[in-house]
């Protein structure tokens, strides 16, 4: 029985990460944008939704002074919108410039967001984190359906799968639309759509905002499931893992992004089960990241189109394969 709960939790984590990967794929796979602040948007969404739905507590250790008690749905919306806005503001600095600049700005911005979360305890409770985050519809579970008992975790997994499915549909629709066509053109060679009259900076901002907004939603969904958050959940290692997921799965393909996420989550979870008294047991989290880094570089070398990517497009195109 505990096994089932564990699997369900892993599934929920994978689904939340899949949302991050979908957003990242719009940035990188569709538009060719280098965004290294994704964990930052994740954090913005998590904290925004939490602050909006979790009242402050009183007591000796209570540092947070800002808190509301809106329903979870409001929290989710605020999370997505705020993360999108933050994303667009950050991107505004660099959309008219070469991609390297956006990489450096987002890398720096992610760090700044982390600093703010850690230091502004009146808002975020700092390193302590925030507890007692409300879980949506918690009271209704466990629920008897027919002869079957549905626990809260199973419900949340179902919810997450539905959201991932919906996001997949929305984003693939956008990608195969004329809007997506302009994004792809920007990815291939930005001068061309400009020469054809497209305001590429605006398209880049929209792409950035959409992906960041989805990351914010993912953050909110994370915080409401785990009902407690703290700054260590939103480290650069997460952004990096999602990058690896998108590239290993197949840059440019939403299905690939989801498959890549499964792979990455798989590595993380499988290595969790190795007993900790094996050599390097304590260093496992770090060894995991080393493995992911190696996998990323190896995939980039041997199979730049990733697991599910389009080899033909890669050979014809210029983003990861050719020079």
């Amino acid at each position: 029985m505990a096994y089932a709960t564990l699997l369900t939790t892993v599934g929920i984590i994978a689904a939340i990460y899949a949302l991050l990967a979908i957003g990242m794929n719009m940035h990188w796979g569709d538009t060719g944008l280098l965004n290294f602040a994704h964990a930052g948007f994740f954090a913005v969404g998590a904290y925004a939704s939490t602050i909006v739905t979790t009242p402050t507590t009183s007591g000796l250790l209570a540092e947070r002074t800002v808190g509301f008690a809106f329903p979870v749905v409001v929290g989710l919306v605020v999370a997505a919108v705020l993360a999108a806005v933050v994303g667009v503001v950050i991107a505004l600095t660099s959309v008219r410039l070469q991609g390297d600049y956006l990489a450096m700005v987002t890398l720096s911005a992610a760090e700044i967001i982390r600093l703010i979360v850690k230091n502004e305890s009146w808002l975020t409770s700092g390193a302590q984190g925030i507890n007692n985050i409300p879980r949506p519809a918690a009271g209704a579970f466990p629920l008897q359906v027919g002869g079957f008992t549905v626990g809260y975790d199973l419900f949340y997994l179902g919810l997450m799968l539905a959201i991932v499915g919906a996001s997949y549909l929305v984003f693939t629709r956008l990608s195969s639309s004329p809007f997506g066509r302009v994004l792809h053109a920007i990815r291939e060679d930005e001068d061309v759509p400009r020469a054809l009259g497209k305001r590429t900076a605006t398209f880049k901002l929209k792409s950035f905002g959409l992906g960041a907004g989805l990351a914010g939603l993912a953050g909110a969904l994370w915080s409401h499931y785990f009902f407690a958050i703290n700054p260590t959940m939103f480290l650069p290692a997460l952004t990096f893992s999602i990058w690896a997921a998108v590239i290993i799965g197949g840059a440019g393909s939403y299905a690939g992004a989801i498959v890549g996420t499964a792979f990455i989550v798989g590595i993380r979870q499988v290595t969790r089960f190795l007993p900790s008294d094996i050599p390097f047991g304590n260093e496992l989290p770090f060894i995991r990241l080393i493995l992911i880094g190696v996998a990323l570089i190896v995939v980039l070398y041997f199979r730049p189109q990733g697991l599910l990517g389009d080899r033909e497009r890669m050979a014809a195109g210029q983003d990861m394969g050719g020079s």
Partner: protein, 288 residues
């Protein structure tokens, strides 16, 4: 928030020296190899941790340990190029940037595995800080500034006076042209990693000397370094150094206006202002 204190200018010179070094190394690599090496921060950290390991775990005197740490980064940078970057030489700069991020994570976590993830200090005696003209001055800080100036000066001499250096500048402006003129680009690449690696090692060791060593110290140092590189114009060594000192001073003086935890933000703010007003860098050279 604090009131103005000439001490801040002193700190600014120290920070500025470190940022200038890092920015110079990063910009030189960009100039020759045409990509931003995000793992450069980890080259700095690695130099510091190698020195730390020799100093604290093996008991070597700091000077010796530091020397080994600094010099080791030259060949290590070359080796990393051979093992990793060389295979992607024909790919786009974007791919190289992503590969360098992968490498950065690998190196950062290798440091955590080998030396642990907590913060460390070099084995140095606690010093008195004599006061001159109202400014407290530590011998370490003087060393950092002087050594930085020496290395910066030496690097510029290299670039201006030696064949290798001149070839580097030519290749930095136009690598195709340099190749046609018979410059051995392979040897050049070797030199640039050597020089860049050693500079990174030195910056890392001094960073550790000035404060503590942490596995992510290199990554954190990258923010002001990026700012300096961009403000100075990507690929422009003089700009990188001027930018480095400018950012160092501004960072330290900023505590007058903002809480000290956010000093790093100044780097980002300056970077943003720089990008919005002068996307080609302070000296207008950052065309790609």
């Amino acid at each position: 928030m604090a009131t103005f204190d000439p001490q801040f200018i002193w700190f600014g010179l120290v920070s500025g020296s470190l940022i200038a070094l890092g920015a110079l190394g990063l910009t030189l690599i960009f100039g020759i190899l045409d990509f931003i090496n995000i793992a450069y921060g980890e080259y700095m950290a690695l130099g510091a941790f190698i020195a730390f390991g020799l100093n604290v775990e093996y008991g070597l005197p700091l000077v010796v340990a530091a020397l080994v740490g600094v010099l080791a980064m030259g060949p290590i940078a070359i080796a990393l190029d051979k093992v990793v970057f060389q295979h992607f030489r024909k790919r786009s700069a974007t791919v190289l940037l992503v590969v360098s991020i992968g490498l950065s994570f690998i190196l950062r976590n290798v440091i955590r595995v080998v030396w642990g993830s907590g913060s460390k200090r070099f084995d140095v005696p606690i010093e008195q800080a004599p006061t001159y003209f109202g400014i407290q001055i530590l011998a370490d800080q003087v060393l950092i500034i002087l050594l930085s100036l020496v290395v910066l000066g030496g690097t510029f001499l290299l670039l201006q006076r030696t064949d290798v250096g001149i070839a580097m500048r030519a290749a930095s402006d136009d690598s195709e042209l340099a190749r046609i003129r018979g410059v051995d680009t392979n040897r050049l690449v070797l030199y640039v990693w050597l020089v860049g690696g050693v500079i990174a090692g030195l910056a890392g060791v001094m960073l550790g000397l000035d404060g503590q060593l942490r596995p992510n110290m290199g990554f954190l140092a990258l923010i002001p370094i990026f700012a300096a590189v961009i403000l100075g114009g990507i690929g422009d060594p003089i700009g990188a150094v001027v930018g480095g000192y400018a950012i160092g001073l501004t960072q330290e003086l900023s505590v007058i206006f903002i809480p000290t935890e956010y000093k790093a933000i100044i780097g980002l703010v300056l970077l943003v202002i720089g990008l919005l007003t002068r996307p080609d860098g302070l000296f207008g050279e950052a065309t790609r």
